[in-house]
Symmetry: C2
Subunit: 217 residues, 2 copies
């Protein structure tokens, strides 16, 4: 056991971190890394910071806004150097894959943090560099990031919750009913083929090709 400086009562504990937005967000990131986003509750954070849940509302608007701040914190570590577009998007997706619940939350958030803007800027830059007209790039960046986020939200939750092994098997059997679902039966196993990684990257390729080829109205 490490020596404690002094045993102090809760009442006169000395100068712990004073509360601030940064301290609240840092605590949220810490708890999420250690125990998952589900454990990041206002009450838990308050406990962590020796105060009551109401006090947190001085620094964050609500849970959704806090999730946005947590995302931006995570994106600070994103490496932008020496990447092509698919690689950068894959790195972004990898970050979210580790926290699928955060991805789910982000999907309904329109993030606006500094690091998210930096990511948008980099994606725009790479689209521009490959000759995509700015109008298509401007709308396309949304599509690309949405694909990344939705895939992370979808994937992660499915491996989290233990559903779908028996039930996917069962659905697959029903789907093969050639009378009711002729086209599904026709494509067969292809519907569920490929790894998550392969399908993610194919999705990016599809989007990039489509964005380059499709004029905005």
């Amino acid at each position: 056991m490490a020596a404690r400086r002094e045993p102090v009562s809760r009442r006169d504990r000395p100068a712990k971190d004073p509360l601030s937005r940064a301290v609240v967000v840092a605590a949220a990131v810490r708890v999420m890394r250690a125990e998952g986003l589900e454990r990041v509750t206002m009450r838990r954070l308050a406990g962590e910071l020796d105060t009551g849940p109401a006090s947190l509302y001085v620094y964050v608007d609500n849970m959704a806004e806090l999730h946005g701040a947590v995302l931006d914190e995570l994106l600070a570590e994103l490496d932008f150097s020496g990447t092509d577009l698919v690689e950068l998007l894959s790195r972004y997706t990898q970050v979210l894959f580790e926290y699928p619940s955060l991805a789910r939350s982000v999907l309904t958030l329109r993030p606006s943090g500094a690091n998210y803007l930096r990511l948008i800027d980099a994606v725009l830059g790479l689209l521009d560099a490959s000759g995509v007209p700015v109008s298509r790039a401007a709308w396309g960046v949304d599509l690309l990031l949405q694909h990344a986020t939705a895939t992370a939200a979808e994937h992660g939750t499915r491996s989290e919750s233990g559903l779908h092994d028996a039930s996917v098997q069962e659905a697959a059997l029903v789907a093969m009913d050639a009378d009711r679902y002729p086209h599904v039966a026709g494509v067969g196993d292809l519907l569920w083929s490929g790894s998550g990684e392969q399908r993610l990257r194919w999705g990016f390729a599809v989007l990039i090709a489509g964005i380059a080829a499709t004029a905005v109205p």
Copy 2:
């Protein structure tokens, strides 16, 4: 006031609907239509059906699974006749737009109901009819439905929660900092231009063009 047949006590009320999966799902749909998915709680449904929340678990596995059943119920009304691909996908999106929280839930669900399979089958058929190779169609259907669902989840929640008018304005100003975000500043208002409908349809067009052009690995 309509005449009541007879005043009955709770104890000996006559033959109300006996509980069944269909009755539980129907109650969920009814409450969602009237008051939104947020009000569809196990306790509320139980109250509606004169029982306790525990009884519902005889008929549904959990909330997520119930949401899947509700989606499939909604899709029963989807009109498949005389549509091209973009039109069909738009109709599906319209259904989800009315219940953004359901869309959010569906995103992490891999729906497997009969009506969802019917939709997948129709999309596969239309892709096939337009000459897309089956391997690309098989992976592409996921991309198309994910775009629809994610857009509904995103859009709806944003107009539900009153965020983002002042805060989007503010983010837009920050983003125009040409030193920090040169490419964002370069594209300017294009980033936020267009109606939801326009961007949704453009997204479908992008995906369809990309799917047709991109081989699976």
